[in-house]
Amino acid sequence: MSDHDHDDDHDGDPHHGDHGDHSHGHSHGIDDPSHPHNAPLSDLQLRVRALESLLTEKGLVDPAALDELVDTYETRVGPRNGAQVVAKAWTDPAFKQRLLADASATLADLGFIGRQGEDMMVLETTESVHHLVVCTLCSCYPWPVLGLPPVWYKSAPYRSRAVIDPRGVLRDFGVALPEEVEVRVWDSTAELRYLVLPRRPEGTEGMTEEELAELVTRDAMIGTGMARAPEAAPKVAP
C-alpha cells in the first residue's frame, strides 16, 4: 500500500473531514494539492481550543505557561545545541574523550540537560562504523541537544524500516554507504538517548568551532546524513 492509498482511505470518513491537519502525519510532501492548508478552522483546531478553554476555566493550566513551553522549543532548544557539541568534539580531543565516556555529565557541563536527555550516550561514526538512531515504539529523541523531532522521525516509514532496511533508509536520504562499512542501528526503547557524533568532513583543517558547527546537520546527528562539506555550507557571517 502506498502512502497515497493510505490517505485516500480517509475520504468520506466523518472522523477525518479535515485533511489540512492530517497531511503532516504522513510522508508525502506538504505541497500535495489534495490537502489544502488554508482550511478555516479544522476539527482538530476546534477540539484543542475546546480542551484548552476547559482546562483553563478549571484553573488546571495557565495559557502563559503553554506559550513559554512552545517558545522554548521553537526558539531556544534545537539542533544548534548538538552542532556546538559536535564541533567542540572535533576540535578538542580531551572533550571528545569525556563526551564518549560520560555523555550525560559532559553535556550537563555545557547546560544541555533535562527532559528527554537525562541519560545520554554519544556514538562516534567512523570510516568503518556508521550509527543510526531510531525509536520504533514511539518517538524518543534527545530533546536538549536536538530539540523536538521532525515528522519523518516519528512517522511509520522511518520507524518501520530503520531496523530492517537501514541502508535503504540511508539511500532515501541520499547517503550511499559502501558495503564494507558496518551499520549499527540503535533502537531507543528505554530512557537512554543517543546522539551521533558524525565524521569531521575533509578540508576543514583550521576552521573555528563556530564555522565547523555550521557543517553539522540535524540528520548527521541522527545518523541519516553526513556533516556537510565546507563548500556546501552557507557562508558564516564575518
Binding site: 480517509h10 483546531q45 477540539r47 493550566v61 530512557e191
Partner: protein
C-alpha cells in the same frame, strides 16, 4: 501490548520523505496540544510510561491514520478522564469542539495552586528526575553474555519490540538500574532493574538475506531477557 505502535520491521509504508526546512510545529493546534500535554503532566498524576501506554490504546487503524500530535491528544484526553480532571461529558463536548464559556475573572486569577506557571517551565524541563534509579540491584547478565529476548506478549504496556522476541543477542552495555516500564505504566511500582544495550545481528533478526555486518542495538530490561540455551 501487540499494538500498531510497534512498527519495527513492518513493510509497506513507503520511502522516508523529509520536509525541507521543516518548522518545529505545523499548526497552532500542534503547539497547544504539545503545551497542554507537558503542562498537565506537571501535575504528576501520571508518569511517562502511563502517557505512552495511553497513546497505545488508540485503535490500530486510527493510530496509523493519524499524526503524532493526534496520538498525544488522544493519550492526554484519556488520562484526563481516567484521573478525574475531566468528566466523560466534558470530554464529549471537547470532541465536538464546544468551547467552555469564559468566566469574567482574569485567567491568571483562576489558575490553581500546583498548575504550571511560565516561571516553572525552565525548572520543569531541567529537572534531573530521570528513569535511572539508585537502587543497589545486582545485574542478572553481564557484558559479553549471549542472551535470549523472551517470547512474551503482555496485554499491558511493554518496551520489548516484537521484532527481537525469541531472538539471540549479546549484552553490549550495562546501563545500570532503571524504572521498569511494564509495571510503572500500570502503577507507581518502579520494579528497579538493569537495562542493557543488547546487540542483535541483522541476520539473527531478519534472516540470511540481511547484511552479515550490520546489527541492531536494543535497550532491554532484565525482565525481558533470559540466559540463551
Amino acid at each position: 501490548m501487540n499494538g500498531a505502535h510497534d512498527l519495527g520491521g513492518m513493510h509497506g509504508f513507503g520511502p522516508v520523505v523529509a520536509e525541507p526546512d521543516e518548522p518545529v510545529f505545523h499548526t497552532e493546534w500542534e503547539r497547544r496540544a504539545f503545551g497542554l500535554t507537558l503542562a498537565m503532566g506537571a501535575w504528576r498524576r501520571w508518569n511517562l510510561d502511563m502517557s505512552r501506554s495511553a497513546r497505545e490504546q488508540m485503535l490500530p487503524a486510527e493510530y496509523l491514520a493519524t499524526s503524532y500530535y493526534e496520538h498525544w491528544l488522544f493519550g492526554l484526553e484519556r488520562l484526563l478522564v481516567e484521573k478525574g480532571f475531566v468528566s466523560p461529558e466534558e470530554l464529549a463536548r471537547v470532541s465536538r469542539g464546544e468551547q467552555t464559556p469564559r468566566e469574567p475573572a482574569e485567567v491568571s486569577a483562576k489558575v490553581k495552586e500546583g498548575a504550571l506557571r511560565p516561571e516553572g517551565v525552565l525548572p520543569l524541563l531541567h529537572n534531573r528526575r530521570a528513569a535511572r534509579l539508585g537502587d543497589p540491584v545486582p545485574p542478572k547478565f553481564e557484558v559479553g553474555q549471549v542472551v535470549l529476548a523472551k517470547n512474551m506478549h503482555p496485554l499491558g504496556h511493554t518496551r520489548i519490540p516484537r521484532y527481537v522476541r525469541g531472538r539471540r543477542g549479546v549484552v553490549a552495555i550495562d546501563h545500570g538500574v532503571f524504572i521498569f516500564p511494564d509495571t510503572h505504566a500500570a502503577s507507581e511500582n518502579t520494579k528497579p532493574q538493569h537495562v542493557y544495550s543488547v546487540r542483535f545481528a541483522a541476520q539473527e533478526l531478519w534472516g540470511p538475506e540481511a547484511s552479515a555486518r550490520d546489527s541492531v542495538y536494543v535497550d532491554l530490561w532484565d525482565d525481558y531477557l533470559e540466559v540463551a540455551p
